[in-house]
Symmetry: C2
Subunit: 212 residues, 2 copies
DNA sequence: TATTCATGTGACTTGTTATTCATATTATAA
DNA sequence: TTATAATATGAATAACAAGTCACATGAATA
């Protein structure tokens, strides 16, 4: 956790440090981001940095948690608007939409999250990563179980596998978005995401049942 | 390129260095793999290492190219056995099979490749990575075009997107395999991979045409 | 204004790891 | 056997980046 001193800082200064850190972590990942560069860009002294944060890790965890919270808010908002909905695919589509909106409106935060996801052998983040992924797949699993009960989806699937596949399909869309910066508008990414949802959705659908 | 001295080495010694490097790069990725550890495990002197390789990068590129070559061999072999085949899905299944076999039989080489794929901001590897991905998607694109001509696949798809999706679905299977070491046999990974091929395949199929 | 507390500072220390180099050993050829 | 080339060695160096610290400045209160 950042120190009291950091939170006492004038908003402008505080946000400058945060924004610069986010953009560096997003661009270079954890290891290659240097405190030296952060302080230079934020125009503060090295010593000051260590008055604000215990160490590099402290800063990173702070930003990571920020990213997770912001993303969760997007998902919560979307789920609220889906309340009462019975159709699995609309749920999954909603989850995709929330994730895409989060990424579009917070490109660098989304990049920080994806970098953590891809990181290797970082004991500290392994737990965060696992929790984070579990949260995503658990939600899908819950929906899948209901969808199978409702005969909406074929029952000959392994729920764990498929939840993982659907989760990954979503990550894939986000990656595509983050790696192809030219795709920065809803107009371009939406048809793309919908196509994927449609393709995988068609493959999953219980063909014995007509669409609802 | 490793030096003449390295290639002159007795096979046992040479392979020891290679194997240890592969397993360390696979386990820890490029940055966290230390020459000091390689040298210690391979039981050679630090100075010797620098008689064999220009630097750490030289070693890594050598191993990376080795991995690419080995993987290509698996694909070439599979493609040969598919010669004359007209069905898109059998091709795609074949590609999956080749990749899975490569990964199962060369776990660490596969991990090295996946690590490179996930690496950020490594100018040197960006080109290799891009080439490598282009190769994978180009193959799928070629098949997709034929499949659409044959009415095997719906025509309302963006070939670039879908090729990328199919390519990623494959990477997803490999990741799942590499991250869940307990899945180390053909028996366990095959039904899993087939399920994914089936799901996405069903979604892509032209429903106006009966299966061939 | 004097005292105290909070914040700012950047040269220095520490730790880490790639890379070098002067020297020793071993193999090869004459 | 001797000379020459090839290979081996590990302590020393270099480069880099995180984290510290003794001191400076500023703000708040009495």
């Amino acid at each position: 956790m950042p120190t009291k001193t950091f939170f006492n800082l004038a908003d402008e200064k505080k946000n400058k440090v945060i924004e610069i850190s986010i953009s560096l972590f997003a661009e270079r990942g954890y290891t290659k981001t240097q405190i030296t560069e952060i302080v230079k860009k934020a125009d503060i002294a090295k010593g000051s940095f260590y008055q604000y944060f215990d160490d590099k890790n402290d800063l990173f965890k702070y930003i990571l948690n920020k990213a997770i919270k912001v993303k969760e808010d997007y998902i919560k908002k979307e789920l609220k608007s889906l309340e009462g909905e019975q159709n699995f695919f609309r749920y999954w589509k909603g989850l995709n939409k929330a994730n895409i909106n989060f990424a579009l409106e917070n490109l660098n935060l989304a990049r920080v999250l994806r970098n953590v996801y891809k990181i290797k052998n970082f004991e500290l983040f392994k737990i965060i990563k696992r929790d984070y992924e579990k949260q995503g797949t658990d939600l899908i699993k819950k929906w899948l179980i209901i969808a199978i009960k409702n005969d909406e989806i074929k029952s000959d699937i392994n729920i764990g596998y498929i939840a993982h596949l659907l989760y990954t399909a979503n990550c894939f869309i986000i990656d595509y978005l983050l790696e192809n910066e030219e795709i920065d508008t809803q107009n371009k990414i939406d048809p793309y995401a919908n196509k994927i949802v449609e393709i995988i959705g068609n493959g999953l659908k219980n063909s014995r049942k007509k669409e609802g």
